[in-house]
Symmetry: C2
Subunit: 392 residues, 2 copies
């Protein structure tokens, strides 16, 4: 039986070139007067985006407060600072300008602004303080990857405890997202590749699944996968190819906004495994996912699961389904490896990025802290450790 | 260049079996106390759905007003009556239980309740009164076809003037839609077939298009088309096949909620042509579309458009793209004809449903009243008349 679900994604998305001008100020003003602008390392100043944003804020007669320096794999200290600023300055709306890190951090600032306790209490496994409200969030996306612009989740790191924990709560869903593909023209080939790996992983986590599929959503997922396989290499070679950037950007949102789930209840696999990697080694999330994904695919292949690989192989890569199933499955995995490590040019092993096995046991233990990863194939601590080892 | 667009579909959808119980009352109550229940010919009483709805309304302590008898191809008189009732009883929310007709009519009642003028003024080409607000609408869908449950449009007939006019306005978007596939178990094979034709036409109107495509959306559309081709015959043979009914129901919403447009600006072709047919002869919308669609596909095939047919033929039907393009295109049209008239078993000509050419000239003139149909291939009055004639 296809599971029941509730579909509810009330994010208004302005998609396309030049959508910020004339719309951003108006949208922000709808939420109030005092805006907290959050962003990362300052690349938005080089690109001219910062000036464009300031002009909109000024023309709308809004009061601006700024919190720059949100780090990749955003940290709880940034969240604490942001929440504090919101309270101090009585902020009405947070404007997050950046990729997933900035938007994720802003979500927990928005929630943190509405409570008295430490924002880490939202994430700490032993506390899990309720998220019942949050300030409104508007964002301008600068990187196609995490899908944070259209979902209500975020992942925050705590370097003190080596924790990297995610949470999804409806009040943290952005109200308005600006998706201008030309903003991603300046994204480097490496970050574009990591973003592609992240998007693909979001789809794989749902597609490779033992819950009953809804056919129309499987077709859509195969389309999203083909979209990334088609356009990521183009975006890497021709950074200013609008068609490529537009397809990647819109696909990144739809890979994880919840639509493709269609009621599937199953947990994810590669993401929790990767979160431990980047919690311990602060590597780029998408790189970690690229390294893990083909090994996870190999590890999960069995009599019981092979039919899903065959579906994937034939519908995405057009492989010949009349060959023996396991051969078809293995060929598809090989094609994914080729895509990640040759076409996208990402490093293919943990050894290459100087990660050895010394923390594998601890990381595997933490990855299953909430219990066995009940994904495509249920993974216990020893399974996770084996998959990490396959990545060496 | 891919056109800019705004994506904004804040409809909450409860999808699945038994979602009404415990959720409907709660959702209605969120909008107020006085509910106007609209429905059609009373099949909801036979099926037990009516009792289920009343129980929810009673348990939530709401006040119920009823407007039964909304006709297929809903008429402006029903809209007038509903708008009047909303004003008289100070209605807070309209609960539409039915297919597209009931929901469409309810949308214009909801808008009509907020103005002093005749609701026909919203539709009359010479008036087009603004739709700036509307009462909230909650619906329970009983037929997978029009997509009215997730879009802001509706089509209303005026038998006095032989007009059938559509309009889309954001305030008329339903707030909450209940999509329980088991409710459609009782939909007859004929209505299931007409629904399938309607859904396919919604996709074709966007897919066959000379604006630049967004690849990921083309993939999605091909998936939706394959979904209908796969499941409509199953739903006809096994009316209580949940998987088939669920896929058709969710596909019907996504065929027309605006997502697949992705900024395409082009007008539709078959729908305005069909609206004249059902305005003059009160035939089922989906049947009219089924008869028109393959003729329209033939009429539009040319050197300029053939590549789109080849894409369709190969990605939807898996036809061999190495054959001559026109042959591939014609084979795909033949497969669609076979699907509509053999697999779905719909009548294939206007003659068979006792429509002759006597009104073709007037209907064609009305179809292009707003100007040439700027669709896939622009259609003038004489083109429309020729297509009608091809349907005899």
């Amino acid at each position: 039986m296809i599971h029941n679900f509730i579909y509810d994604i009330p994010v208004r998305v302005y998609f396309g070139k030049g959508q910020i001008e004339g719309n951003l100020g108006k949208e922000l003003k709808g939420f109030g007067k005092r805006v907290l602008l959050t962003y990362g390392g300052g690349s938005i100043k080089k690109s001219g985006l910062y000036d464009k944003v300031l002009k909109e804020i000024e023309e709308a007669g809004l009061e601006l407060y700024e919190l720059p320096g949100i780090e990749p794999n955003p940290r709880i200290d940034s969240v604490r600072k942001g929440a504090q600023m919101c309270k101090e300055h009585n902020i009405d709306v947070i404007l997050a300008v950046g990729g997933g890190s900035t938007i994720d951090a802003s979500k927990f600032m928005a929630a943190g602004a509405c409570v008295e306790h430490d924002p880490w209490d939202f994430l700490d496994h032993s506390k899990r303080a309720p998220v019942t409200k949050a300030l409104p969030i508007v964002d301008i996306l600068t990187l196609s990857a995490t899908g944070s612009e259209m979902d209500c989740g975020g992942v925050i790191s705590n370097p003190v405890t080596n924790d990297k924990i995610g949470r999804m709560e409806f009040p943290m869903l952005p109200k308005v997202s600006f998706l201008d593909p030309t903003i991603t023209y300046s994204v480097s080939p490496y970050q574009t590749a990591c973003g592609a790996a992240d998007i693909l992983s979001h789809i794989f986590e749902v597609y490779f699944n033992m819950d009953q599929d809804m056919y129309m959503l499987d077709c859509f997922m195969e389309g999203l996968i083909k979209t990334i396989i088609k356009y990521a290499p183009i975006a890497i070679k021709e950074p200013e190819n609008y068609e490529a950037r537009a397809n990647m950007m819109w696909a990144s949102s739809w890979a994880i906004n919840g639509f493709i789930n269609g009621g599937k209840r199953q947990a994810w696999s590669c993401h929790p495994m990767e979160h431990e990697l980047s919690a311990y080694y602060d590597i780029t999330h998408g790189l970690g996912l690229a390294i893990l994904t083909p090994r996870w695919m190999k590890y999960c292949l069995s009599e019981k699961t092979v039919s899903k690989y065959v579906q994937f192989a034939t519908n995405v890569f057009g492989l010949d389904a009349t060959m023996p199933s396991f051969q078809v499955a293995e060929n598809a995995i090989a094609l994914m490896e080729h895509f990640f490590f040759k076409t996208l040019g990402l490093k293919s092993t943990l050894s290459e990025i100087e990660i050895d096995s010394s923390n594998f046991a601890t990381m595997a233990k933490k990855a299953v802290l909430g219990g066995t990863l009940k994904g495509f194939v249920p993974l216990k601590q020893e399974d996770v450790e084996k998959i990490y080892t396959m990545c060496l």
